[in-house]
Symmetry: none
Subunit: 204 residues, 4 copies
Amino acid sequence: MNTTREKILDISLELFSQKGYSAVSIRDICKYVGIKESSVYYYFENKQNIFDVLLNKFSEIAKGMMAQLENGLTDGQNSFSDGINTVSNCFFEQYLMDDFCNKVMRIMLIEQFNNEDVRKLYQHWLMDEPLNFQRKIFSALMSAGMITNCDNEYLAVKYYAPIYFYAQKWLFNGELTEERKESFRIDAYKHIQMFFGEVGGYNG
Amino acid sequence: MNTTREKILDISLELFSQKGYSAVSIRDICKYVGIKESSVYYYFENKQNIFDVLLNKFSEIAKGMMAQLENGLTDGQNSFSDGINTVSNCFFEQYLMDDFCNKVMRIMLIEQFNNEDVRKLYQHWLMDEPLNFQRKIFSALMSAGMITNCDNEYLAVKYYAPIYFYAQKWLFNGELTEERKESFRIDAYKHIQMFFGEVGGYNG
Amino acid sequence: MNTTREKILDISLELFSQKGYSAVSIRDICKYVGIKESSVYYYFENKQNIFDVLLNKFSEIAKGMMAQLENGLTDGQNSFSDGINTVSNCFFEQYLMDDFCNKVMRIMLIEQFNNEDVRKLYQHWLMDEPLNFQRKIFSALMSAGMITNCDNEYLAVKYYAPIYFYAQKWLFNGELTEERKESFRIDAYKHIQMFFGEVGGYNG
Amino acid sequence: MNTTREKILDISLELFSQKGYSAVSIRDICKYVGIKESSVYYYFENKQNIFDVLLNKFSEIAKGMMAQLENGLTDGQNSFSDGINTVSNCFFEQYLMDDFCNKVMRIMLIEQFNNEDVRKLYQHWLMDEPLNFQRKIFSALMSAGMITNCDNEYLAVKYYAPIYFYAQKWLFNGELTEERKESFRIDAYKHIQMFFGEVGGYNG
DNA sequence: GATGAATGAGTGTTCATTCAT
DNA sequence: TATGAATGAACACTCATTCAT
């Protein structure tokens, strides 16, 4: 592969996720990559293009992730809690806390205000889609009679909002250390347990 | 009074809240205010100073708001739901949706990544303080026997996270129209009603 | 008198002598005087005018000084060494080391390169005139037979150059402290003594 | 070679030596070099950096010059006056009147008041070092019995002060024309001759 | 593949000065 | 006497981008 191109992407991702798009200059990127500024233009049309490539890559991954989650739903699981755990685990580890995804999410969080397209992506992948997916889960659980029928729109928010809140608290600022990841897991899993305790299904 | 100074602050607030600090130039501000760039320096030391003045003004307001909320708690209210409504109303209308506060919150949301101090402010005024205040409410309600004793840390998150989520969804991007405010109110008040329905106290 | 005007002059003199004309702003001056920048223009046409007033004042003083020195020459003195001492003392204490004169000399030293007029003043009052005066002294001493006839042009340089050198070393940079003044006096008077020891007249 | 870089240095040297550092703008330099302002930053970090490069280059040359002079002292010379002439010639032609060195000296002369480091350099290379070197010469001459023993500190000043004085008069202001150089040579060599005439050694 | 050289447009900031009050 | 308000011109510097090599 073209390692220089990859390096540019890697370092841009890292820097963008730390300081945001406009606060990172081509100079900064090149300094870390170890090339001259003009060389960037051999691989990318312009600065914006680097950014776009990163976001597109993320969109692909996110799309795959959501598909995988939906498949996970229908797969035969031994038990209800097995299903919940598999799904949550996947969403947490391979999405919110995945090195690449986490960085892109930070970028989107920062750039959503300068860039309408980014805002839509953020809204889509961090608010609407997870909520939507959660709604489907609850629908399934309701039709399976595993939880009592109710407004699953609100149920999804009730479930997802604390996770979103904890993610912002632990995962989207400062360095993504193992400690912070663990803090997130503790808070999030406790929430899930409490949630299903109330809602009724979380007993295996 | 010094209208030019006020104008600079107003327009800076507006522009900063739309595009973030560094994406707004002194030239931009002056174009809208109708003065020459050098005139800005008659009123403010430098660009950062404009920003600081806005944040300080917000901090003062936020401090006052939190004090007022705590006082509201101890004031004799006719009923429990009266109290909740007064507090929520104040927090929503005069804080999250107040023209000035809302714009500063957007600024903090944007700038928290470029600026450690701002991140702390954001964390303090939009996460820790509201959560903290909520915890106190639940403590009071518990000792009054109005809700069953339980982990009020988690209770506060359960209560506040959806509000935070709805705020991000409706109040912190795009234009703050009446429609969006109304959508927020509907979602938020529904959540509050459901919450106290479950928790036990919300029957007056 | 107009004390504000005097203050402006005093402080300008001080600051100009420390940093040079262009490195001192009207703002700087006003900060120390305790007035607003626009007020300066009530007393002076512009910044350059302050500078000119100071230089003119110095020129007057220097003119007076040289006249006084020449008079001192013809005054009946008890002895040769009395005459030399009176003249040197006056030139050192009331000229090179006088608070006002010393500061203007520093200014001229700094500004001679930006300003042709200043360079001429400097050349005149710190090189040509002292040399010229010294020449006259030696002429007088020669015709009085007190020193042997010789090239008094060179004699003047031989006499004055070390004084000029010591002045640059001790009096024209850093703060003009009593210690530095004393160092200058020691070096300069030693030179004078040695000089007249060789030349022949310095024995009373 | 990098002609543009050289041009920037050449022209900066010229302009700085005429008006001083702060009175010369990047715009000025670029106008003469024939490049756009931003191009300067391809070759130099900032304006100060241009200045520093010039001063460092001078320091190197001055160091070499002093070493060469000291070597010259110990080299076998046919006669005493040969030695003096070689040394003086070198100090005058390749130091005080050398195109590059002369300009840097003017810069130092101007900037010594704005810049403590420059003042130290000036003091070092135009006062202390030459004086020091001269002292060594006189020490050597004394131990060789070629001049009578005496206070060689003062002797050095007696020798160097007039040269310093003539240098300031002829070499450090206005344009450095051949006429002015010649005037300096005449005055300086006459002084040297007279000096050694008195001191005793100058007869070959 | 990569770079040396250059640039146009822009940024925040300083400063002497003006003028109505 | 003094100042509040404003400005035009300048300044050092940054940055994304271009293009011939």
